[in-house]
Every structure is written in structure tokens, then in C-alpha cells.
Symmetry: C2
Subunit: 308 residues, 2 copies
């Protein structure tokens, strides 16, 4: 109600009767639950698992998930520490699908400027194992109360996931903002030097076909708004079109970087968020009484250093 | 395979081993089925149901669905014919949600330039009935073979839809590219002068809560790439930020406009497309064996006038 009330003011070119937009995905009620959640319902995110990417479009903050793809995450962190993503490029933006970016190549081909001192820091990781799913052992899986087209949907602490209870496996789901690793045709060819994030309808058919390594915590918006590439699959045509990556650092390398938390998906607060999103009120004359996994995002928040 | 083969050439800043992106939503196999579909598996789209919108971002072609929202579609066509959308504005872009645009208001408030001759043509429609679902009578419903979180998913000829078999109702589903009508809190307050299209994960919770009137056939890309609005819910802050709409016409008003067709969703070709998308090969080591409604888009195509 409040959110819609706020809308009355900026409403739209003086029309009467004023037509308002559909409300945001995050309705006020879920927002209120998040705001009221006690500290015990939040989990700290390790600053060493946060990648801070400054590009020509803006800053994007990515949380890595070593519990799902330990070899990939270790390789990505090694690339970050070696400065390999500095002066990298966003190479592909495909509408309703992905934004994809790449570390600076070792041989420097197709790169406009390449200071040799940066070049010498480069590492060249070996191809990595196909970390597409993992054993469910040691992870708390909170099942979604709603039907899922693909598997059993749910959450492992702080993450949108799915599982095969019979096989005892669990994996990160491909939703808006999920970060994965580009690979070639053989499953073990991803090296972590090329990553993408989803900017469209959750492509869940990619689940268990590619290594998911994380998700965007903040700053996806200007990247999702980049011009779509004109070549096959949304690749940019040439170097002039590719937005530059100024630098990528781990949050643990940046002294002043804020702390981040994610809601504990096993908490009562999160269960209430799920119910609120499935049973929206106010604008909604007919609550859906369900919600699919990709709309049930896990709340995350930035907290000033010193709090908690 | 072919699609991925093509990728080898533009691949990505000279890296070795080259990492390729995940393949497109439309895999080659489904594309081949579409290309081979006989003429009898395609349905003509009435040029009077196509809205051609030229904006500062580009041309967007929208198909209207009078069979689902007859009063809204009639009101929108009246607005188009009266030139009410000419010199309108895109007023809102919310990340992972919607692009929303508005006809030029009758009183001209907040509009920079407003030629009086255009102004006098304006109509002011009355609020419209809440056309959120309709009787299933007279529509062929082809159920999806896969589970849906929200209802029974499927298609009515040429459209992504869902139904309540018990109640005998059917409605258009909110997916990427669906076009709906903005409204205020009371359900009957949409007048068709303000429309949106979805540019994020399909917000199916809006189904049966707002009048869907169509979908984008072409040209969503540059609109989905517009800068996100900085105000509450992604509204643009002021007139300077709002991209202009040069004109909106029906395809029936444009002599040279191409004809469009949509695949008959009751055809064998479409059933094969659904299966191909659920059982992807090549890049995919583990086909999902399912696909959710919003990923199962209905193929559409432009055909030169004179063909068929």
C-alpha cells in the first residue's frame, strides 16, 4: 500500500484517471519482514568470497560460492589476485539471456592497450573439473513449498538451489543475477577466465550443464542495460564496442569495503518472505498462492563495518 | 553444433583454451524444426492487431490479443488511430521487471512540446472492465507436458497461456515480452493509455491481476537496454530522461509493412519445438527433460507481402 501510495506523486504525465504500473517484485509486506528480521536470521558473507568489478558501466558486486564450485572459485580468485581481469572486457550481451565478460588474454590479442607489467602477472589455469552439482551432504536444504518445472526447488543457506533427493545431489539454480563460467563443448573446458551473469528469464535448462559460481549482490542494473551485441549470440563486433573492465578485486583486498549479509534461508524470517511473495496483497486481486524459485530471491544487505 | 561452431571464430580475445558461452535459448535443433515447418503450421497475424511503435530507442512491433482483452484492445486501437501515443514517452524502466510507456496526456502537463493540432485529436477513454481472464470456450488449449508452479500451463493458438480447467477460464501468461496495461489500485482503472512490457524473469504472479493485451514480436532489445529509471520502481526522474515516442501506428495503416505469422501451437511442428527445447543436445550434457512456459516461446516470423 505504501509503495503504491508513493507512486501517486510521480504519476505519469498528468493523466486522469492515473494508471499505475504493476507493483515491484518485492512487495511491501516482504520488505517489512526483511526489515524486521532479527540479526540471528542473517548470515555473514566472507569478504574473501566477494568480487568487486569496476567496469565502464559501473560497479558490480558478485558473491562467489566455493561450497558449490571450489576449483572454479579458487581459479577465479587466483585470476583476480593476479590482476588478470584488470583491463578485461565485457564481450557479449544477449537480450533476455546473459552479459559475459573475459579476463585479459595472456597473448594480448585483440586488446587495444596492454601494459607489459600487467601482462607478466598473468596466470594460465588448467581446465577445471565439471563442478555442475555436488553431494547434498553437509548442506541444509530447505525445500520450496511450491511446484518446480525442473526438479525440487529450494535453498541451501543463502542460495537459490535445486536437488535430486534420490541421487543425493544439489546445485545452484540459474536465475536472474546468477553467475556462471563459460566453457567450450567438452564439459571440463571452463577455466574461470570468462564469466557470465543472467539478465533474462531464468534459463534453468542450464542447471547441471555449466558451473555456477555465484550471483550478483549489487550493480547488475547498468550492466543489464548495456547495448545488446550485434553478432551471433549477442557478441560485440569489435574491440571498440566492448566495455572495459577497469579492475576486479576481492572485497578482502579493499580496506573500506562494506560487509554484506544474506538471509538465512532456514530461518523463520525467510519462510515468511516466501509466503508473503506467494500471497501478495494490496494491488493483487488474486494472489498467486505460489511463486517460482527464480522470483524467490534471497534477501541480501550491505552493513556498515562495525555493525555486528 | 552449428551454432557453437560459428562461435569459434569471434571467440573472445584470443584466449586458449577458448571458453565459449552457454548456447542461446533457441538451440539449433528447435531452429531447424521452425525452418522446416510447413505453411499449414503457421497462422497469419491480422495487420490490424499489430502496433508499430517508433521510439528514440528504435522500432518495437507489438501484437495485440483482442480475443483476451477486447475492450482494452479496442481502446488502445482508438488511442493509436487518434494519435494519442505520438509524442508519448517511455516513463519507466525497472530492472528485471518492465519497460512502461504512456500516451501523451490530454492536458499536456509535463510534456515539453505539444502541437495543438495533435492535442485536439485526443480521446479520453473511460476506465475499462478488468479483462484478466476469459472463458475457455471457443479456444483450443494445448497443455504443456511439463509442471508449472502457478497453474496449468499451455497455449491457445499462438500464445503462451494458462488455464483453470475446473473454472473453465484461460489467460495470457506474463513472460518476457508480454504487454500489459498499467492500472491504479482498483481493478477497473486501466484505460489503455499506459502500457508495459516485461523485460525480466516472467512475473507470473501478475497473471489474472492485470489485463494482458499482447506481446512484442520484434524490437524489444533496444528498449530492454534503456537506462534504468532512478526513481521509486524505476520511474524516470523528469521529462529530460524520458525517451520519446515518435509515433505509434497499426500495421494496417502502413502500406508497406510486412506480414507476420505465428506458429500454430496445436501443430506437430510446435509440439516438436517444445520437445527439442526440453531435450537439448550438443552443449548439454544433461538435458533438462522439461521447460517452463516462459522459455517455451511461440515462434513468430515476418514474411514478405505476396508470400502466402
Amino acid at each position: 500500500m505504501k509503495r503504491l501510495g508513493l507512486l501517486a506523486a510521480p504519476l505519469l504525465m498528468g493523466q486522469a484517471p492515473a494508471t499505475s504500473p504493476p507493483p515491484s517484485l518485492a512487495n511491501t509486506s516482504a520488505d517489512e519482514i526483511v526489515a524486521a528480521a532479527p540479526a540471528a536470521h542473517w548470515l555473514a558473507i566472507d569478504p574473501d568470497d566477494i568480487m568487486v568489478m569496476d567496469t565502464a558501466a559501473g560497479r558490480m558486486v558478485v558473491q562467489l560460492a566455493p561450497q558449490f564450485a571450489p576449483a572454479h572459485v579458487a581459479a577465479i580468485k587466483a585470476l583476480v589476485r593476479a590482476g588478470r581481469f584488470d583491463d578485461g572486457r565485457i564481450v557479449r550481451v544477449q537480450d533476455n539471456y546473459v552479459v559475459q565478460w573475459a579476463a585479459k588474454p595472456e597473448d594480448g590479442k585483440q586488446v587495444v592497450s596492454q601494459p607489459p607489467d600487467v601482462r607478466q602477472q598473468r596466470v594460465r589455469p588448467a581446465p577445471l573439473p565439471a563442478e555442475y552439482e555436488r553431494s547434498a551432504k553437509g548442506l541444509t536444504f530447505t525445500p520450496s513449498p511450491f511446484k518446480d518445472t525442473y526438479a525440487q526447488a529450494g535453498w541451501v543457506p543463502g542460495w537459490q538451489a535445486a536437488r535430486d533427493a534420490k541421487a543425493g545431489t544439489v546445485w545452484l539454480a540459474h536465475c536472474y543475477g546468477t553467475v556462471g563460467v563459460g566453457r567450450d563443448m567438452p564439459p571440463d573446458t571452463g577455466d574461470g577466465a570468462e564469466l557470465y551473469t543472467v539478465i533474462g528469464h531464468g534459463p534453468r535448462h542450464l542447471d547441471r550443464n555449466i558451473a555456477n559460481v555465484g550471483r550478483v549482490l549489487a550493480g547488475i542494473e547498468p550492466h543489464a542495460a548495456l547495448p545488446r551485441g550485434t553478432e551471433e549470440l549477442g557478441f560485440y563486433k569489435d574491440e571498440a564496442q566492448r566495455p572495459k573492465i577497469a579492475s576486479v578485486r576481492l572485497a578482502s583486498q579493499i580496506a573500506s569495503f562494506p560487509l554484506w549479509q544474506m538471509m538465512d534461508t532456514a530461518s523463520r524470517s525467510f519462510a515468511a518472505v516466501v509466503q508473503a511473495r506467494a500471497n501478495r496483497t494490496g494491488f493483487f486481486v488474486r494472489p498467486a498462492r505460489a511463486a517460482d524459485l527464480c522470483t524467490l530471491k534471497v534477501p541480501v544487505r550491505e552493513v556498515p563495518r562495525g555493525v555486528r
